[in-house]
Symmetry: C3
Subunit: 432 residues, 3 copies
Amino acid sequence: MRDSDIKINGNELHGLVSELYPICRSITGDGVRQSLKLLGKWVDLRLHEVPTGTKVFDWEIPKEWNIRNAYIKNSRGEKVVDFQKSSLHVVNYSIGVKQTMRLADLRKHLFTLPEKPDWIPYRTSYYNETWGFCLSQRQLDALPDGEYEVMIDSTLEPGHLTYGEFRIQGETDDEVLISCHSCHPALCNDNLSGMVAAAALAQYLAPTALHYSYRFVWAPGTIGSIAWLALNEPVWPRIKHGLVLSCVGDPGTFTYKRSRRTNAEIDRAVEHVLRRSGKKFELLDFSPLGYDERQYCSPGIDLPMGCFMRTPNGKYPQYHTSADNLDFITAPALAESLDMLLSVVRAIERNERFQNLNPKCEPQLGRRGLYHRVGGTNNSRNEEAMLWVLNLSDGDHSLLDIAERSKLDINELFEASQTLMQHGLLRKMPRH
Amino acid sequence: MRDSDIKINGNELHGLVSELYPICRSITGDGVRQSLKLLGKWVDLRLHEVPTGTKVFDWEIPKEWNIRNAYIKNSRGEKVVDFQKSSLHVVNYSIGVKQTMRLADLRKHLFTLPEKPDWIPYRTSYYNETWGFCLSQRQLDALPDGEYEVMIDSTLEPGHLTYGEFRIQGETDDEVLISCHSCHPALCNDNLSGMVAAAALAQYLAPTALHYSYRFVWAPGTIGSIAWLALNEPVWPRIKHGLVLSCVGDPGTFTYKRSRRTNAEIDRAVEHVLRRSGKKFELLDFSPLGYDERQYCSPGIDLPMGCFMRTPNGKYPQYHTSADNLDFITAPALAESLDMLLSVVRAIERNERFQNLNPKCEPQLGRRGLYHRVGGTNNSRNEEAMLWVLNLSDGDHSLLDIAERSKLDINELFEASQTLMQHGLLRKMPRH
Amino acid sequence: MRDSDIKINGNELHGLVSELYPICRSITGDGVRQSLKLLGKWVDLRLHEVPTGTKVFDWEIPKEWNIRNAYIKNSRGEKVVDFQKSSLHVVNYSIGVKQTMRLADLRKHLFTLPEKPDWIPYRTSYYNETWGFCLSQRQLDALPDGEYEVMIDSTLEPGHLTYGEFRIQGETDDEVLISCHSCHPALCNDNLSGMVAAAALAQYLAPTALHYSYRFVWAPGTIGSIAWLALNEPVWPRIKHGLVLSCVGDPGTFTYKRSRRTNAEIDRAVEHVLRRSGKKFELLDFSPLGYDERQYCSPGIDLPMGCFMRTPNGKYPQYHTSADNLDFITAPALAESLDMLLSVVRAIERNERFQNLNPKCEPQLGRRGLYHRVGGTNNSRNEEAMLWVLNLSDGDHSLLDIAERSKLDINELFEASQTLMQHGLLRKMPRH
């Protein structure tokens, strides 16, 4: 993979989020299909349909949920809560209902956020046949006692769980897996940002010469990654690195949550890139809470996959509320996240090991025109990089190892290694 | 071992110390026997008698010392130093003497603490046939020149070294060894506190269902633990964990001195318990100075035994003086120490390893009624604990490993593991 | 090696630097020979001559450079730059020239330090047939336009590269290598200080009973150490420890740059000595930039050699300028450096492993007259040292290991080990 002059256009990323925003997604249903088809503008992904009832490890694919309309009307026939205004108003996976009831009885089906009276919470009832509405505390407070008509026009029937997949063949069948959850409805950072960033990354990488093959998966949280894992067990051993993408659109600090292995190559590569970026960042240890790394890093699978985020889930007040909207995420933040991801890909692509073919003392770089300093002055950075690569290319150290020890950038070391190879001073070793 | 509602009564502990306080102990003699018999109120310990002259590794059991009376009288026949007032007044192991001498000659047999003029120091002459008196600097200063009558009615004759032992049989013959030195006379923190804490711990554990067997040893410092080790070599390999108890009655900061192995399971268990307690504590590295861990951790024995203390030996001014008295130790401090020891026992008892029987992806906890959260909200602590146990129960990690990594309490993890076992999601592995 | 009452005379060291200062050294030539012969006053070193054209790994011994005179004269015949005043005035390895030229043309052969207008820079053109002059910015500024006569009376002809070597035979053929670069002309800290310190160290060690053999090499930077390594490949495996000496005359903070192996015995020994010295010091990680450790630590050689300095190359403004002169280095700093080096030698000489012959419990030191404390008081430092040596002499730990763990000085532990050996409690183990 070459250095690139890719101009990342944050506005395009934000624009695609805007198109996806109004669609009501869930872990199954037409909203997911429609969303994945929209991503198809950027990347030629394939939709996979897993039938209801399919056993996937300890789980079973649930019935497919589709919703057409929902509202609460007051006694004057006015819609006081309207699904058409926000898909968050309905508890996701609510069963159909049509009845009239007193506010006192309705209340146990209503969810609000009293501490954020203008925001609508996001709630789900996936494995629980029930129904409910989410609304702002102010909306609730404004409702007088009396009778209300409650209507949810939804179906929960045998159907399919849908996920999207896109694969780029590299030089080797060893894979890098990029996964994001695609089930959340009108929430921008969590996770339209991740869905769109994955699509953009795929679009950038598709035409590029790559060492690894890259596989992108857009699947509903938990059940989707479980389904993908259950259906792709032969692929597991080929996955050498992976990232779960989520919450990459807000302008907060970059956050990387390490894989269960703690110090896998992907963990070290992301840390190196973040450290070299000059940007603020935070590193979190693995925990079995969070996104689909819970499944990818379960003990019987244990893939080397971390989770790449900006502000993590639960650490911003807008999390899982209607305030995680198109204003919360920004075009520059999306562009910067994508840029960081491209740097991570570049780092793992370039993390080669070399063998110094002249390992006893330094080779005479000056004779080869590689050493330009005037005797008595300091080395240039490029000379430094060559000396580090020569000194540590003993077969044990990869460029990332050398970068960590030298505090130089892997890209500087990569350039140096290319020069040294051209002069016959270095030999590339097989990747392990 | 279950969680317990044990009400630890510090006053009872302090009361037992008070009964032991007036008895003159030493490394041998009737004072030791009398003290161990008093402990017999709480625990059915057995007295072992090792005859004078017995070879114990590089050492030999010394003659038995018994003292009946001792004083210094002035020329008017008044007792100016009186053993009946404090057993500290006589240098421990002093041979018998009865003579009249001038103050100038007597002085080389007198020990004081000039910097603490009201305190009597504690001195011994175990392997050195000599005699002496300890007194306060003020007492000494008040003595006019002249003749003094010196009398020590003691005997140093072939006899025995006495130690006490109590053993609780657990499920396994693997043992936890609790050892404390029982040789110090009228010193409360060092080590009546340790002697009484060991007895109380034994009393609490005796009726409990335990995985490990527990052995308690009350033996004189150095020669006593050496004798015990020499006579119990076949027991060594069964000792999986151990603690030396000393100085556990003062209200100072908890202090744990690690075993020679530095990071043995007992070291990690004590650290975990102290860290979770919310109390201040200090961790010391092993050194071959201190209490009987010197012997237990000698290079040819190297048991995994640390030393559990509050303020360590030599780090409080009252150390080895008459000020280490019944006022220096407190009932609440004794109770808190015992409570901490019970928590340590609980931690090592519960430090099981489990195997996740559903290791590929998470099991569906909701279906089993184990996952109560409303979709979209945070996990409860109990759910967190279950997810951690599931994720790391790969056969390699014990609950203590998981506790260290998750920053959760081993007891929370233990509860979670019991729930998961009940649901067939976890299998207990054999202890190693 | 015994403790010594060596009185290190810094004035003698400074005096020898003064004698060497006026000689024009380079990587070859008579200046080197003359300098090494001066060192012969202190140490019976042998000069080795390697002929021009000899292949040494990837390099070839260059032609020999000798210079007799050089100047720039103005149109009035006055010498405005004069090699006789400072050997730095000529770019080292300049080819001969004699011509008249205008200042404008001359300028591209002139080197100054505009930011330090009174200082002459040090420049070289070793592998580049060209010529040049170095002068202060003030000198240059004072030159009016016009014609100048330029004269360098130098030769670059087949000859030899000269290095000096001195070896002390110890008990074993295992060697400690002390190397310093001998090519710099009128620069005192870099590296007349190192050359003279090596000679003084050799002088001190020569009459001493030593475990290791010691080899001292004075060789031109880079090409000299490469030549030595190429010609001494059979010696490599015998080198157990080594130091490159440089910049040891300035009064700055001690600095030790670790070997490529990071934690070799020499690295730990130097760190221990510096830490115990009570002086300020800094530890640097290895990098393949700097002095001849670049060659000694190249990946196919990888000797355990660090670089011992005070202020490192490039970290003081006088570096590679005429201000690195006889005033910049001081007699006390030179003496202190030599003293530290002797302590390092003592530490590696004394870093024995012992076996405790009484490994089960402590031996009874009191019976052997080794334990002098009054019962009830603290141990003396010597008792502490004995207890540490006994506890950790299990065959795995060397005295340096014990020093690191106990925080005691290796010399205290060594004394303790000697006492314990005399009492039959310890056995010396073969060095590995």
